[in-house]
């Protein structure tokens, strides 16, 4: 049963990896990577690494891939290339990748380790659980754990700095509201010239005079504005 599952999942992983490097819209490349990651999580499960399989699905297929999809949708993928490939360069690259594969196979499978051919250790119920992994992280690997958190913080700040708007539509200096200390401390109704022009709210809460900028029509100031809006035959005053 495990063998059948392994071959299904491994072909899914390799097929997804091939879909990533296939020449099509980058959006499909990202979706192929999602397939690849899910298959890889199943491979982790076959290796009894349950927590890592769950983390792979949640972190990669859940979060990182959403980030990719957003950026692909923002940048917009398939643009025609301005310059063609140099002749023979792709063949050379494929040859190089094949050389890497042969080298890795020689190194991994031609090794003298006997355990490589074995099934692995007998199953231990403590293996691969969040409890066992967490204990290892907080005792033996405490320093890498803290360094990883620091790295995540630096990466988050760096991404914000890199992707911020550099010009245009940003908050200019003039748009920032300036509050002077005197205005903040001064009580209302102390008789400055600005209050005399704009009108101070009286006890009942209705403005005594005009609008602060003096642009209100007289009938609104006199309280008939609402009635006039509902009157018949009035044209709608635009200007929204």
């Amino acid at each position: 049963m495990a063998e059948v599952l392994f071959f299904i999942v491994a072909s899914g992983a390799i097929g997804g990896a091939y879909g990533v490097i296939k020449d099509w819209n980058p959006f499909y490349n990202v979706l192929a990577l999602v397939v690849h990651l899910l298959s890889l999580a199943a491979l982790f499960l076959l290796l009894r690494a349950e927590f890592l399989a769950a983390a792979q699905v949640v972190v990669y297929a859940g979060a990182v891939m959403v980030l990719y999809v957003f950026v692909v949708a923002y940048v917009g993928g398939a643009e025609p290339l301005r310059r063609p490939f140099a002749p023979g360069l792709r063949g050379l690259s494929a040859l190089f990748a094949a050389a890497i594969l042969a080298e890795l196979w020689v190194a991994l499978l031609g090794t003298g380790l006997k355990a490589v051919d074995g099934q692995g250790s007998p199953y231990n119920p403590d293996y691969g659980t969040p409890a066992g992994l967490g204990e290892a992280l907080l005792t033996k690997f405490l320093l890498p754990f803290e360094l990883a958190s620091l790295l995540l913080l630096v990466a988050a700040v760096g991404a914000v700095v890199l992707a911020r708007r550099r010009r245009g539509m940003g908050i200019e200096d003039d748009d920032v509201a300036r509050v002077s200390v005197i205005e903040a401390l001064r009580p209302e109704g102390t008789g400055t010239m600005r209050e005399g022009v704009s009108g101070i709210p009286d006890v009942t809460g209705t403005p005594a005079g005009s609008h602060p900028k003096g642009t209100v029509r007289p009938e609104v100031a006199a309280g008939v504005g609402e009635g006039r809006r509902h009157g018949e035959g009035d044209e709608w005053e635009g200007g929204w």
């Binding site: 392994f6 490097i21 190089f96 066992g132 690997f141």
Partner: protein
């Protein structure tokens, strides 16, 4: 299944990722191929950890390879974040999103 099968799959995925990094010109797809290579390394790490999953004299199961894989996942997430930030910055500056066109490092 013997561990060697997992290592063979890991080597295939790594080679596909390396070939993609060499061939592709869109930096987004190059980042995806980097992910492929990191995941192949993760698979090899976990397979090797499976080889040594015996409890030691204190009754503890070694999880070193899995912790290594977890840290690799964290580093990959950081790399993706910064790389996508660079791509968005390139797009904002109207630069061509093509690694062959970007030959200069200055502004």
């Amino acid at each position: 299944m013997s561990i060697a099968w997992y290592l063979a799959v890991s080597a295939i995925i790594f080679a596909i990722g390396a070939g993609g990094v060499l061939v592709k010109r869109n930096p987004l797809v190059i980042l995806l191929c980097l992910e492929l290579m990191l995941n192949a390394a993760n698979l090899a790490l976990i397979a090797f950890n499976r080889m040594h999953a015996e409890a030691d004299v204190h009754g503890k199961v070694p999880h070193d390879g899995q912790v290594f894989a977890l840290i690799v996942m964290v580093v990959a997430a950081c790399e993706v974040t910064v790389g996508l930030g660079i791509i968005v910055a390139m797009y904002r500056r109207r630069l061509p999103v093509d690694v062959d066109e970007l030959r200069e490092l200055h502004g």
